[in-house]
């Protein structure tokens, strides 16, 4: 195969890749959902009184921070069926997306734990105190005063974590998930490796635009939600 660079091929590949974005989105959405739940549990453990729970949460976060996504992905991919085997279950045939979602939920949970914890801690204790002092119950104080403020603080970090998830998620192709990266590699293989550069550039353009869009969305959202902070910004 003669190798040459053909810019028009980039546009062509973008249209071939775009339909597979929905696999990427699906996997990311589930990971965000489960990861956020894990993050809440870990953050509660870290902020709580139990020393054991705190140590477990800290250990979990350290371990996940030190594990490359691809290593975690393969540990899950090979490890879960192996564990299932020990209990007499055959887990080799479950959808590959499941392994991807498990991996990135675990990872996103560790990220979210820190996001949630730091947002919670950024809210002055006095906010809670004044809420209960005017007669709100503890639950009401959290729901109406602490949570809305913590959410705004957490938003930029949540956005960054989401971008990180999206990009680490690009590795899902390594276990054979056909998302946009998987599809890109399939196209290249079927082309006998011709035009690989164009397809990879197409891939990077899709990711780049997506990231910018997400970034802008979170900036806008932050601006809308940060009521009560307007004058801080103009100051």
């Amino acid at each position: 195969m003669e190798k040459y660079f053909d810019a028009t091929y980039i546009m062509q590949s973008i249209s071939m890749l775009l339909p597979f974005l929905k696999v990427t989105f699906m996997v990311a959405s589930f990971s965000v959902l489960f990861g956020t739940i894990i993050g809440f549990i870990l953050a509660a453990a870290k902020l709580g009184k139990s020393k054991i729970a705190r140590n477990i949460a800290n250990g979990y976060i350290t371990i996940l921070r030190c594990t490359p996504s691809i290593v975690l992905l393969f540990l899950v991919y090979y490890g879960i069926p192996a564990i299932g085997n020990n209990f007499g279950m055959d887990l080799n045939d479950i959808d590959k997306a499941v392994f991807v979602i498990v991996t990135f939920s675990l990872q996103f949970g560790a990220l979210m734990c820190e996001v949630i914890r730091s947002a919670y801690e950024s809210i002055d204790k006095g906010q809670f105190e004044s809420a209960v002092s005017v007669g709100l119950s503890n639950a009401q104080a959290y729901r109406r005063i602490i949570f809305p403020q913590a959410l705004v603080v957490a938003l930029p970090n949540f956005g960054n974590s989401l971008l990180a998830l999206l990009q680490e998620g690009a590795l899902a192709y390594t276990i054979g998930l056909i998302d946009i990266v998987g599809k890109a590699n399939l196209i290249i293989a079927s082309n006998y490796n011709a035009h690989a550069l164009e397809i990879f550039l197409a891939l990077s353009i899709i990711y780049w635009i997506l990231s910018i869009a997400i970034e802008q969305f979170f900036l806008k959202l932050e601006r809308v939600l940060s009521k009560g902070k307007q004058s801080l910004k103009t100051m």
Binding site: C66, T67, P68, G79, V181, S204, Y207, E215
Partner: protein, 237 residues
Amino acid sequence: MSEGLDYKFLVDTFFVALSGVPIALAITIVALLVALPFGFILALTRINRIPVLHQFAQIYVSFVRGTPIIVQIFIVYSSIPLLLDSIFTKYNLEMNVYDVNPIWYAFIVFSFNTTAILIEVFRSAISTVSKGQLEAAQSVGLTNVQAFRRIIIPQTLVVALPNICTATVNLIKATSLGYALSLQEITLRAKVAANVGYNYVEAYIDIFLVYLILCSLVEYAFKRYEKRLIKYKAVNA
């Protein structure tokens, strides 16, 4: 496959994985050596809004942060050989692109990536060091260069250190993608060892342990260093 872990393989392969550490570290160190000065300088162009360079740095950072590192690797790995090939043929050099050691590609990709990350790290760190510091340095007769070297940079480093630590750990982890460059680093070595007997679970446990140890050590070293810097700061305060 159901008879549990192969412990002998587990132990043997641990050392196979460990033997990939020097390559991972070499890439990390080269990338940091390139990224630290370039990141700092480009951060300054961002802060001082130097025309052209400032916009360039902005787009560069946006691209690196907006695209997966594996895609960056793919692009470098598929574009540079094309480039080299055309150069070699043009000047009739008797060289084969496929003889180039893949570690060079790794140096390029990871330096390229880490520089962008450090631009952002330094940008936010420099902006926390107040303008008054520079003005005070100038007021006692330091030149701009002296003020930066003696006043601004030391303070910036202290502020930036935790983020540099994170970037370093992420960099070490990212070297696991060296497989895409056929680089004989930690992950690929252990994986190849596993191919023989399908001992993938064991291999990945080994790889996992090696990264865990490596990254924990790096984090620990940074924490120690940070403590020393902060102590120094407190004594001075």
